[in-house]
């Protein structure tokens, strides 16, 4: 299912998280629930990996299996080459120092100030007091809240609380940062700011980030790779740009479409989704196509976005019922390296 790529822009890739044949079954009173079923996933060092799915798909359970907050029923999880499911409780705790985590509800200690919240993981790890205090100051700077050191969480806004959450997660210099719906409780502009901060952290500190979300916009904004989870299984995974350009599964198409604020596009006959990338978006391909093929095109939706450094244009068009002119239009677009695919049913 994975797109084979012969050239990658990163020459050296070292897997930092490897999930192998992971199964997680819950046994509530009502019977047996398979939350995860045969998950295989590799995250390389330095990537920002998005895990996206509808609610109840199993993505929160999956992220909790990475630091073993949930114990897998079957399968194994490797962190930096080590199978963490075989570790003793004590060894596991030490491993957790190197895997930071942030949450949708921030989960800050309400009885501690911002500063003491960041100090908390350092206390747990037994870091010497002066070193710990210095580190706390550095982290407050990093997340842009040096003036909020003495504030209690209840005096902070959602965005500020998440910044403290991020600082706290980074305290013990982790290799990996897990984000469980970290922006879902925030408004759009705060979400943007937090995502920007995460991207900075990834670039400056080289920390691998795993982002769990139900919003495709979050994935498009900062992720390099994505895995789409549906029904406890990975439906599709790969580079975000590839999946955006050419989604193969129904769920991937659904995720890509349903992100728009006002995109419940009514789908009908002869609807096509076309995707431009860098080169073609500067050319006036659509206009040329209409002029050359004399095909009457009805444009229903169009937008542009930047995914992993590449500008993409996306358009939903309706082609005439006349098969000949429709296929002429499609062929013209494909000849210009534009992805064209028919969309059916109510994808929005």
């Amino acid at each position: 299912m994975r797109r084979v790529r012969n050239i990658d822009n990163k020459t050296f890739q070292k897997p930092i998280i490897e999930i192998k044949d992971l199964v997680k079954t819950f046994y509530p009173k009502s019977g047996e629930v398979k939350a995860l079923d045969g998950i295989n996933l590799t995250v390389n060092q330095g990537e920002i990996y998005g895990i996206i799915g509808m609610s109840g798909a199993g993505k929160s359970t999956l992220v909790r299996c990475i630091n073993l907050l949930e114990k897998p029923t079957e399968g194994s999880v490797f962190i930096d080459g080590q199978d963490i499911s075989t570790l003793t409780e004590k060894e596991l705790r030490t491993t957790r120092y190197s895997v930071g985590m942030i949450f949708q509800q921030f989960n800050l200690l309400m009885q501690r100030t911002a500063e003491k919240n960041i100090l908390f993981p350092l206390e747990i790890a037994g870091v010497e007091k002066n070193t710990a205090r210095k580190r706390t100051t550095e982290l407050l700077e990093l997340v842009g809240l040096p003036d909020k050191a003495k504030a209690y969480p209840s005096q902070l806004s959602g965005g500020q609380m998440q910044r403290i959450g991020i600082a706290r997660a980074l305290a013990n210099n982790p290799k990996i940062l897990l984000c469980d719906e970290a922006t879902s409780a925030l408004d759009p502009s705060t979400t943007q700011a937090i995502l920007k901060l995460l991207k900075e952290i990834n670039q400056k500190l080289g920390i691998t980030i795993v982002i769990i979300t139900h919003e495709m916009s979050v994935v498009e904004e900062i992720c390099s790779h994505v895995a789409i989870i549906d029904n406890s299984k990975i439906a599709e995974f790969g580079r975000v740009a590839d999946i955006f350009r050419n989604p193969k599964t129904e769920i991937a198409k659904k995720m890509i479409f349903s992100q728009g604020e006002n995109t419940p596009v009514v789908m009908g006959e002869n609807f096509y989704r076309i995707v431009f990338d860098n080169k073609s978006s500067s050319d006036s391909v659509m206009a040329k196509m209409i002029l050359e093929t004399k095909c009457m095109v009805n444009i229903l939706h169009a937008d542009m976005k930047n995914i992993d450094g590449i500008t993409f244009g996306q358009m939903v068009i309706q082609l005439p019922e006349d098969e000949l002119s429709a296929s002429r239009a499609i062929n013209y677009l494909r000849a210009n390296q534009i992805t064209v695919e028919e969309v059916e049913g109510d994808v929005g």
């Binding site: 630091n67 907050l69 596991l92 705790r93 030490t94 491993t95 957790r96 120092y97 895997v99 930071g100 985590m101 949450f103 509800q105 989960n107 800050l108 200690l109 309400m110 009885q111 501690r112 908390f120 993981p121 206390e123 747990i124 790890a125 209690y152 969480p153 209840s154 706290r168 997660a169 013990n172 897990l178």
Partner: protein
């Protein structure tokens, strides 16, 4: 009837009551606090599930709590003698008070700690906290305001129990109320002791609420 010796008696009684109440509360907390914590952590959904221990603790707590205090007071007399060497006076009363109060405190502590958002506990586990660190650095500090309110409730309840101990010569204001007010029909003494008891309860309750409010950073 009212003379300086009566005043001395009442002042002494007040101190005895305070001594019994505070000492019992303290010792009962030394037993009840860990019990309450264990009730939470050993639960099936807790951080260190221990089914058997949890069951035993629950049974012990429920049995002790269902025995009426007056009966417990008399039933433990042999134990009281064994520990304090006597079965009358305020020091002797501390034994049944602790036995009655510890399980009650365990329940108060349990409910306070259960109020702590599980997300915060999960976050601390994700940072590599050990169960002991979760208890000492997260559960108890985060539940502090609620624990303080619980302590005020526990203290006032124990104060009420201590007055009951007067029936078997337990010392304190309750003892005076029974000996003078009830057996000798000295209504004045009865009223004074009851008023004093009400005052003490008021002070403990108010102080507890104030401290709890002061310590609460959630608002």
């Amino acid at each position: 009837m009212w003379d300086s010796s009566m005043t001395t008696l009442i002042v002494q009684g007040t101190f005895e009551t305070l001594y019994m109440t505070l000492t019992s509360t303290l010792i009962a907390y030394i037993i009840g606090l860990p019990m309450g914590v264990l009730l939470v952590t050993s639960d099936a959904q807790g951080i260190v599930p221990m089914k058997f221990l949890n069951k035993v603790l629950n049974i012990v707590v429920n049995i002790t709590r269902s025995i009426p205090f007056l009966i417990l007071l008399i039933a433990v007399i042999p134990l009281t003698r064994l520990i304090t060497g006597t079965s009358i006076g305020s020091t002797a009363t501390i034994v049944p008070l602790v036995i009655a109060a510890a399980p009650f405190i365990a329940r108060l502590v349990e409910s306070s700690i259960k109020e702590v958002d599980y997300g915060i506990i999960e976050a601390s586990l994700s940072m590599g906290a050990s169960p002991f660190q979760v208890v000492s650095k997260v559960m108890i500090p985060e539940a502090k305001p609620s624990l303080i309110i619980g302590a005020a409730i526990a203290t006032t309840t124990i104060l009420g129990y201590s007055a009951m101990a007067g029936i078997v010569g337990g010392g304190g204001l309750g003892d005076i109320a029974i000996r003078f007010g009830y057996y000798r029909y000295e209504t004045g003494v009865m009223v004074v002791t009851v008023v004093l008891l009400v005052l003490v309860v008021q002070i403990f309750q108010e102080a507890g609420m104030k401290i709890a409010q002061n310590q609460d950073r959630r608002k």
